[in-house]
Symmetry: C2
Subunit: 292 residues, 2 copies
């Protein structure tokens, strides 16, 4: 038994987990559940892996994500950027000869620091499989949106923006919370937010949402879409000001991905959606081959 194009891959995040059985490079079984690392006991992982092998087959196991963090099973120390599949393979944290955890990637540039853990597999997989160019700007929208400069198929530089987390906080506990209950969708309010986001003046634009309600300028039904547009627009504008790529490769679910695509186009660039699950699988299979 050795690593190869047949293995079990686990995308093991904070709150969710997805298990894939991959045989000859193709997924033959998959399962998604809520047994993320916060639902696990630190001492329960070996037993859990045995149970997974019993269900999915007695194959080598590659895990990625928060399972390799301080709140996971075993710390897989960050590999410094620039990093490609080779450096990631060399940085694997081995539990035993057929069970390993993929390391995250870190960046320190003067006083600026950044980290990723889990996203690296998608990024490197997308480039390795030709789903995205090897020299490109990739974005992974979400709670903590990653913007990654790939060069020669390697992670060269990146920035994380806590765009999704700010939106969730505003919706949950700010003075604006009672106005932000409506679902977010594209439309005039979202696009007005994207335009205002270019001004990069969040603290003032956000208070304007309350004043717009009090003065009858904007309906509350539109407030959530406007604020989402504002935050995504500010994120996109800040990143594109630092990049001259004509196109952004979006690793995202279709809903959030299409909102980012609208904001990217409103800032004069093109956006292309890349299947993030397929990219993850491509990355894990490449890693399996490298350590075969």
């Amino acid at each position: 038994m050795r690593f190869d194009t047949s293995l079990l891959a686990i995308d093991w995040g904070t709150t969710n987990r997805r298990i894939y059985r991959i045989e000859q490079g193709a997924v033959t079984q998959t399962e998604r559940d809520d047994r993320g690392v916060t639902a696990m006991a630190q001492t329960g992982y070996a037993e859990e892996i045995a149970a997974i092998r019993a269900r999915f087959g007695d194959l080598p196991v590659l895990m990625a994500g928060m399972v390799g963090s301080t709140i996971g099973w075993q710390v897989a120390p960050y590999v410094p950027a620039p990093a490609g599949l080779d450096e990631i393979a060399q940085g694997l944290a081995w539990i035993d000869a057929r069970t390993a955890i993929v390391p995250g990637v870190s960046l320190v540039d003067g006083r600026r620091a950044d980290v990723m853990r889990g996203e690296e597999v998608q990024l490197l997989g997308a480039c390795a499989a030709g789903m995205a160019p090897g020299d490109a700007l990739l974005a992974q929208p979400g709670t903590h949106c990653k913007w990654v400069e790939m060069r020669g198929g390697r992670i060269a530089d990146f920035v994380t923006a806590m765009t999704g987390e700010l939106f969730a906080m505003l919706r949950k506990q700010s003075i604006l919370a009672p106005q932000l209950g409506a679902p977010v969708a594209d439309g005039p309010a979202f696009r007005e937010g994207v335009e205002d986001g270019k001004r990069a003046d969040l603290a003032a634009s956000l208070f304007g949402v309350r004043a717009a309600k009090l003065m009858g300028v904007r309906d509350d039904a539109d407030a959530a879409a406007y604020v989402s547009g504002l935050l995504i627009g500010a994120d996109v504008a800040a990143r594109l000001a630092q990049s001259d790529h004509a196109e952004v490769q979006l690793l995202a679910d279709p809903v959030l991905g299409s909102l980012y695509a609208i904001a990217i186009e409103a800032n004069g660039r093109a956006a292309r959606l890349v299947d993030s699950h397929a990219a993850f699988l491509a990355g894990i299979v490449q890693l399996g081959k490298l350590i075969a």
Copy 2:
């Protein structure tokens, strides 16, 4: 009995309240408590005012702040900017012939709206009493920081930034919360935050606080000061980019005022602290004279 330079003034906010007895323009008794409008029953105000007159003297009463909002006693509709003491006096909401609520000020400039309620008394008082120039940029730092362009002693234009609220939210519920427990004080970390705030890229700078910890770039003891500097610095930089006043007049308590002063100076302008309590009293006394 008529309004004059002798009256009871109540600065009646959301959570706190301050009562002043003013005789011949001077404070002869004052009291501060936590009976803000959220602690009051909507039907209890008349009785409360009777009790205040019993304690402080049977004088005319002028109230300012959230007592005139939809969550207060009676709505005192916003007076549109530009607005001076005359317009505010004309906009008073009268409960009876010797009891009135000061209106807030609103602004609608195309799709941009803003409001203030309570701050107008300080602003107009500071200029009327010569504590600040009549043509000046005034700032009132706090949960919702007001930046006000005064022209000829009148409120000409203003912007509100929810700078203090964003800081409180981040400290209470964000992924950064465990790092932000230390008190905020001036020092290298605060000033580094002010510099980074000039980049106006909050969502990314904030995630950098977490990464800086993980990569050992910044100690957690400094994280709260850095984030405060970041938010105040972004607020100050955005506002000064829209203004060419060489000096900002700060209506603030000394602690928060001095942090804003540092950020203003780091952006190449001068800052001057103005006593906000004295400004409130000057404004209320001027209003009392106008309706005498």
